[in-house]
């Protein structure tokens, strides 16, 4: 729609109305260089896989191919683990905490310097809006390295009565929803604690992890301390099963998490899992309403709902349900869905065709079950993977859309009468990653927070992350915490 001021009858009069479409505001991409092909980072060198096997990685907003990426086979995984082991034995275990800290500070600083390059690449490869990669993902990633740098030479203060020691070689498998940030969440504590690492980025989003590999070289991190093996499920399976690995850290679906737990059964390897969620976002009748609406919107439409801790179930107190849902729908209509590289885009592309199919299937099941669906009207681009922000009302707890993790921009609305009932419904799930509480009353926040079976409780806010704040789930959302003093424990021998 053209940005015109609709002229009043008398051209000399002041304009009557402005229908305003903001105009395209594309972020420049010329400084984010994407290579034609990427090898594996093993022992400090970029190597081509002997198998000669590569896969393509695309931009999910346009479906255009961005690059060819090496596919690590079992032999490559083996080489990476052996390189990590050698680096641990010869170099890293002999590097003082103060020195490890300095490497991590360097990495943090370089990330800050190259922030825009990383943000653009993250958006191109993953589909999330540039304003998110620029304002959330990249700054938080740098902050994670900065925070953990400070721990590297202070581990003796972190666990009373213990002199912590590193575990050795850590195998880390990360997801596609926050590719760079998840790499930071994994690498920073592992390295601060004195371990070496083999990292497997997600199949659909390898590029920022690979660029991070270049940053590690720029920081002159000793060769082999971090190795990166790109590939798909098989690469990850080979890595976590490798006998030369002391510790496994996985973030991804609950289904794969269970498979990894089975694989490691009886092996004595340390394991942490950060899996799926179906978080309840609870809005009570005394909540500051407009801010609660923002919190609900942020909770499920941020990053297209590709968030393990997404507030995918809105539990609203019956007495304000009508008001809240009306405001929510009106607010959804102002969400801008489209080109992730446009600075004004609020909701970007779905990460892959496979994920889009899953979301579509689950949404269809919701309609079939009889829930009412609302999607604000918006034009979607022709190419690429897209799903309109969606909200279901009239949802029963038993519907699949209320039970299963959709991992998309789809919200299910349920009601409750009393805080007790809200807590019961919120806890009535095998998941337990996060929860939200919206109320003006402090004691109620604390009471609900103490009763909600979730690893992270957000009160009057949602989707807030910080390197100092431990993150992780109850029940089938996984075990172990990342971030904060508690998150160090996963990478240390405290016996």
């Amino acid at each position: 729609m053209a940005d015109e001021i609709t002229a009043a009858a008398d051209p000399g009069r002041a304009p009557a109305r402005l229908d305003w479409s903001y105009a395209p505001a594309p972020e420049a991409t010329d400084h984010a260089k994407v290579r034609e092909s990427y090898g594996l980072l093993i022992g400090g060198k970029w190597v081509a896989p002997p198998s000669g096997s590569y896969f393509k990685t695309i931009n999910p907003a346009t479906e255009e191919v961005l690059a060819s990426v090496a596919e690590a086979a079992e032999e490559d995984v083996d080489a990476a683990v052996r390189a990590a082991r050698a680096a641990y034995a010869r170099t890293w275990s002999k590097t003082s905490g103060a020195e490890r800290a300095k490497y991590l500070y360097r990495i943090a600083r370089i990330l800050q310097e190259r922030a825009r390059e990383f943000a653009v690449l993250e958006t191109m490869n993953g589909g999330k809006p540039i304003k998110e990669s620029r304002d959330v993902d990249v700054p938080l990633a740098a902050a994670h390295f900065f925070y953990h740098a400070g721990w590297a030479d202070k581990l003796d203060y972190a666990f009373p009565g213990r002199k912590p020691r590193p575990l050795g070689v850590a195998a880390q498998v990360i997801p596609w929803n926050f590719p760079l940030l998840m790499a930071a969440w994994k690498l920073a504590p592992a390295l601060a604690a004195g371990n070496t690492v083999v990292l497997k980025p997600a199949e659909t989003t390898p590029l920022t992890a690979l660029l991070l590999g270049e940053v590690l070289q720029q920081a002159e991190l000793p060769p082999g301390v971090v190795n990166i093996v790109t590939g798909a499920g098989q690469t990850g399976a080979a890595l976590v099963a490798h006998p030369g690995v002391d510790k496994v850290a996985f973030t991804g679906s609950t289904e794969v998490g269970k498979a990894i737990q089975r694989t490691l059964a009886g092996s004595g390897k340390r394991l942490t899992l950060e899996l799926g969620g179906k978080a309840a976002n609870i809005v009570l009748d005394d909540a500051p309403v407009d801010q609660a609406v923002e919190g609900v919107v942020n909770g499920i439409y941020f990053n297209q709902g590709h968030v393990c801790c997404a507030g995918s179930r809105l539990l609203v107190q019956e007495s304000i349900a009508e008001l809240l849902v009306a405001k929510l729908k009106r607010r959804m209509a102002t969400l801008r869905v489209g080109d992730p590289l446009d600075k004004n885009t609020d909701v970007g592309a779905i990460n892959s065709r496979a994920q889009l199919d899953r979301i579509t299937e689950l949404v269809a099941s919701g309609e079939a079950d009889g829930a009412e669906v609302y999607q604000p009207p918006c034009e979607l681009p022709e190419r690429g993977f897209w799903f309109r922000p969606t909200v279901f009302t009239g949802v029963a707890q038993s519907y699949r859309i209320a039970q299963e993790e959709i991992f998309g921009p789809v919200l299910s609305v349920l009601t409750f009468r009393t805080p007790d009932e809200a807590v019961q419904k919120a806890n009535n799930t095998p998941y337990g990653l996060s929860a939200g509480v919206w109320t003006d009353k402090g004691s109620r926040i604390l009471d609900l927070a103490s009763r909600l079976r979730a690893g992270v409780v957000w009160a009057n806010t949602f989707n807030r992350f910080d390197p100092t704040s431990p993150f992780g789930g109850y029940k089938e959302s996984g075990f172990g915490r990342e971030g904060g003093r508690h998150g160090l424990a996963a990478y240390l021998d405290l016996t």
Partner: protein
């Protein structure tokens, strides 16, 4: 062939050493100075002989800067301290020269001290966002209340810098004061004040807000009294104070119930030793603990 500009005949432009107050470099309002010599007696420069009024002005500046500095996120303060380390690293040679001349050490000894000073800033920078986790707590009171204790900076801290270790000793006591959000008024070592002034130049270029650190050079006996007695100073670190003056300073401090840290006697080698020269409890000495109660109930 033209003589090179860096000839020995070339007259160098000598630095004027002033005070550092409120982010600026004023001279002492008293107009006085005193001669500073190298450790081996050779005349070196004139330093400001600060007055009680300079102490007064420095405390005003420190108080003004305190809310802003304390109000920054811990992450932000940590980054600023790390930036100080970056700037200090870049000026190592200048400091090695000043420290060697001030203390009469070898070049090697001075270089070790300066390198350690940089590393010490880095070490303390990393504490900024860890204090609450290590020294705070959630307290399980016997009742339906959520109760938590958080450390907070105490306010304006007066520091009598170590008398012999002109850079490393100063850094080792200053960084733990400011990392948590306190602001500081520093009385530089009387006989060896010049590295402190140059350190102030580093602070001025490191995004440290003006007034967070103030540096006064002069006669300790003239300055410690007004500082210790000042009613708007919350705490004193008497690290470098002559033991003979300690009791008097503490007596003066009692009028406003200041928190006081006693003089320390550490050798140059001690300051270099991480086991003796750095300690998070030098941070906690200048923290208050705030405990909050809130009922838990629907």
């Amino acid at each position: 062939m033209e003589a090179s500009v860096a000839d020995d005949d070339r007259l160098d432009v000598r630095k004027t050493y002033k005070l550092y107050i409120g982010g600026k470099f004023p001279r002492t309002e008293s107009g006085r100075s005193y001669p500073v010599t190298e450790a081996k007696g050779k005349p070196w420069a004139n330093a400001c002989r600060a007055s009680r009024k300079d102490v007064r002005d420095a405390v005003v500046a420190a108080r003004k800067a305190f809310p802003g500095w304390a109000g920054l996120t811990a992450y932000n303060r940590g980054q600023v301290l790390y930036r100080v380390a970056e700037m200090l690293e870049g000026r190592r040679e200048q400091f090695v020269d000043e420290v060697a001349r001030s203390e009469g050490t070898t070049h090697r000894q001075a270089a070790d001290a300066v390198a350690k000073a940089v590393d010490r800033w880095v070490w303390y920078a990393g504490w900024a966002d860890k204090l609450a986790q290590v020294f705070g707590s959630a307290n399980p009171v016997a009742g339906p209340y959520f109760n938590f204790s958080v450390p907070e900076p105490t306010g304006v801290v007066g520091l009598v810098a170590p008398a012999e270790s002109s850079l490393l000793g100063l850094v080792s006591r200053l960084a733990p004061i400011v990392v948590s959000g306190n602001s500081a008024v520093v009385l530089a070592a009387q006989a060896r004040p010049l590295p402190a002034v140059t350190l102030a130049e580093v602070l001025a270029t490191s995004d440290v807000p003006g007034g967070v650190v103030n540096v006064l050079t002069g006669f300790t006996t003239e300055l410690v009294g007004p500082l210790a007695a000042h009613m708007d100073v919350n705490a004193l670190d008497l690290a470098g104070l002559d033991l003979a003056l300690y009791k008097e300073a503490e007596l003066a401090a009692a009028e406003s119930v200041k928190r006081v840290a006693a003089p320390v006697r550490l050798s140059g080698r001690d300051w270099l030793d991480d086991a003796r020269g750095q300690d998070p409890y030098w941070i906690t000495a200048f923290l208050e603990i705030k405990t909050v109660w809130h009922p838990t109930g629907v």
